[in-house]
């Protein structure tokens, strides 16, 4: 269902394999396909600002990632290995990062 919402907001057809980074589990690996902050509101910063922050930390199309850890409560936040560095973020902020998971 998030797929259709994304399609609607992004106004483009989306590969059936795409999922949000916020849905990934520890051990999941893959490639970032699309960073597009289009969830209006609730972030305390506007969507374009969130998008730029994600980009500045290296969440950029084409980057390889692996989820390495998650918190105890609500499996949040998550620690992501991005190419050769590690970044922590909350799942709600990871909703705007669309990824293609490697087959297991």
């Amino acid at each position: 269902m998030f797929r259709s919402m994304h399609e609607m907001l992004a106004g483009q057809a989306v590969d059936a394999e795409l999922t949000q980074l916020s849905q990934a589990r520890p051990g999941d690996r893959g490639v970032i396909v699309d960073v597009r902050a289009d969830h209006a509101g609730g972030h305390g910063v506007d969507v374009h600002e969130l998008e730029r922050r994600l980009l500045e930390f290296g969440f950029v199309e084409g980057a390889a990632f692996e989820i390495i850890h998650q918190g105890l409560i609500g499996a949040d936040p998550i620690a992501v290995r991005l190419d050769d560095m590690r970044v922590a973020l909350r799942r709600r902020d990871a909703e705007d990062v669309w990824v293609r998971l490697d087959p297991k």
Binding site: R53, L55, E56, P77, D84, A88, R92
Partner: protein, 624 residues
């Protein structure tokens, strides 16, 4: 060369966090450092001076780490403004030294592209080159140099390698008068950031060969330290050890400092003739300095742990582990460090809130930090507990006095969580800022840098103590000394002073919470620093040297106060903003009297409500 030796060339160190800027700064400047604040903001300005082999003097600026010149926090704004020459009273740097962790070049390359747009002459210091070599990382330095159009020096800041080469390169750029190009920097848009990433990726591919033996240490350590259960258990164990250390190790040192100042006060008292000057020196100045210095051991021990954990790379992990736990109350994971520091003293805690890049999260943290039980409350708690709470065992290993002390700490923590929850709802309407944080690779802290940093903390604390706290102590002394008692007065002198008059005038306000006028009088000097209330109670109840004689004062209080009054006083001290220095720091950090007022108002309200409730409950239960 026309530039004089009097005007050193200005060099700024810029780079991502944790790339070794401070280590490089220390290696470059040794002990020739000066720490101050930037005008208007309380971001630390660290400047050092060196003379190059060619005899030129350079001024080196250690700037806060950042990922982009598009600043998101006051710290990052300083870096941006320093690089762009926008800071009041500061010229733009003559040379920018971009500091990069050679093993983690991706994000810094993007920053370097931004710095190039600014157009100042630049040198790239590829730091942590030892680690890069150990990993078998290959960097085509020649090619990279050509590509970026700036000289590159490899350095190992912690072992002072490459330092001479770096200064020589800087010297060369200044000497040849390398010209700046026009500043074409502007805040990059999302599309431009993407473009810069592609560019960085292309450069990496062309000139850097991935390591033969990538770092596996960090991954292995994280498997334990970031484990959802074991990681939290380790964090709490670590906190336990820290608190043990802060309280157990500091006690002998604090006793020593106390004794030294008592001795000094007495010695001066004997050397000077009786009179106002003697009172001023021994009771105002010496006692004032002593009451501040006594916290130095605790602050240093706490900072020792914090610096060690920060340099090791653990603090970001602690923020990760605590984020959700604190997030429930509307606090940011990073608020953990400032709040932890606040257990020693709210002042360093509030200053540490700068690591939080979001304004709202930072404000919330600053506003609740003084609710953490700082060490200045301990003397007050100890006095009242020893006077009113029986020293009995209430269970296996449980002592009633200890239990009450624990309860007071818990009340502070829980109320801080509750207040931040309310602040988020009331002021920020529930908005939650993004939480993004790099988890740096673990590194063995260098002994030298830990001690240098510790020395710096001590310096900053003493400096502040001298400039803010001491004058306040003197003001309080004046209030409680003048006017002197009339001839033939029978009551303690403070009763006749301004403090006494104020206390008696406003006592009706405090009657509903069970305070008598002597207590109100003691609250006034207690406003300079919480623990001064103990000495002040000693003065109003005429118990000589109350701090060294807590037993006698406690007995006196138990005679004069009801149990309900004692408990009400404890409740007051959990919440009341009884610390002028904290309010001063909040004003400076938030740059707003309004926020300072909000803090004063909410803390006073909570204190009054808590005391009122406790007093009337205790009276109802027969403790009146």
């Amino acid at each position: 060369m026309s530039e004089s030796a009097l005007q050193p060339a200005r060099v700024a160190l810029v780079g991502n966090p944790n790339t070794g800027k401070t280590a490089l700064f220390n290696a470059l400047t040794g002990s020739r450092q000066k720490v101050a604040n930037y005008a208007g903001v309380t971001v630390e300005r660290k400047e050092g001076f060196i003379t190059t082999a060619a005899g030129r003097s350079l001024s080196i600026l250690d700037l806060p780490g950042t990922y982009s010149l598009r600043a998101r926090s006051p710290d990052e704004a300083v870096t941006r403004d320093a690089v762009l020459g926008r800071l009041a009273g500061e010229a733009e740097p003559d040379v920018v030294v971009a500091v990069a962790d050679a093993t983690n070049l991706r994000l810094v390359l993007r920053l370097i592209l931004e710095l190039k747009a600014v157009g100042r002459p630049m040198v790239l210091a590829l730091n942590m080159y030892d680690i890069a070599q150990r990993q078998g990382l290959r960097i085509d330095l020649e090619g990279l140099q050509r590509e970026l159009g700036c000289p590159i020096v490899t350095t190992v800041a912690t072992r002072k390698r490459g330092i001479a080469e770096l200064t020589a390169k800087v010297d060369e750029l200044v000497a040849t008068g390398a010209i700046s190009t026009t500043n074409v920097w502007h805040e990059p848009s999302a599309a431009e950031i993407r473009g810069a990433h592609r560019e960085a990726q292309r450069i990496l591919k062309a000139y850097v060969r991935p390591p033969e033996h990538p770092d596996t240490f960090t991954g292995k350590v994280d498997a334990v330290l970031l484990h959802p259960v074991a990681g939290l258990a380790i964090l709490f164990a670590l906190l336990f050890v820290m608190f043990q250390a802060v309280f157990a190790w500091a006690t002998p040192l604090m006793d020593g400092i106390d004794a030294a100042f008592l001795w000094l006060g007495a010695a001066v008292g004997q050397a000077l003739p009786d009179g106002l000057i003697k009172d001023f020196i021994s009771d105002g100045v010496i006692a004032g300095v002593g009451s501040v210095l006594v916290f130095l051991p605790q602050i240093l021990i706490l900072f020792f742990f914090i610096i060690l954990l920060e340099d090791f790379g653990y603090m970001a992990r602690a923020a990760f582990l605590m984020d959700r736990i604190m997030g429930g109350a509307g606090l940011h994971g990073r608020a953990f460090i400032p709040l932890l520091s606040s257990f020693a003293c709210a002042i360093p805690g509030i200053m540490a809130a700068r690591v939080i890049d979001q304004k709202r999260d930072r404000m919330t943290t600053i506003l609740v930090a003084p609710l953490m039980t700082c060490s200045a409350r301990i003397p007050v708690y100890t006095l009242i507990i020893s006077a009113f709470i029986p020293n009995e065992t209430v269970g296996p290993g449980l002592n009633l006095q200890g239990l009450v002390m624990f309860g007071l700490y818990a009340a502070g923590i829980l109320s801080a969580l509750a207040v931040s929850f309310v602040i988020r709802k009331v002021f920020w309407r529930g908005a939650v800022e993004p939480f993004l944080m790099e988890l740096p690779t673990y590194k063995l802290p260098s002994v030298e840098s830990v001690f240098r940093n510790l020395l710096l903390r001590a310096q900053i604390f003493l400096n502040r103590a001298g400039r803010i706290i001491l004058p306040l102590m003197v003001a309080v002394w004046v209030l409680s000394t003048f006017p002197g008692p009339p001839p033939g007065a029978t009551e303690p002198a403070i009763d006749y002073s301004f403090a006494g008059m104020i206390g008696q005038a406003i006592q009706p306000l405090f009657a509903p919470i069970g305070f008598n006028w002597q207590m109100v009088v003691a609250l006034i000097p207690g406003f300079a620093a919480r623990e001064v209330a103990v000495a002040a109670l000693g003065t109003v109840y005429a118990v000589g040297d109350a701090e060294a004689n807590v037993g006698a004062l406690g007995a006196r209080l138990a005679q004069h106060w009801s149990l309900a009054t004692g408990l009400s006083f404890l409740a007051w001290y959990i919440f009341a903003p009884q610390c002028a220095a904290t309010l001063g720091v909040v004003k400076r950090e938030t740059n707003s009297w309004a926020w300072t007022g909000v803090m004063f108002a909410y803390m006073t309200t909570l204190a009054y409500l808590a005391s009122f409730t406790v007093y009337h409950l205790a009276v109802a239960l027969g403790g009146g």
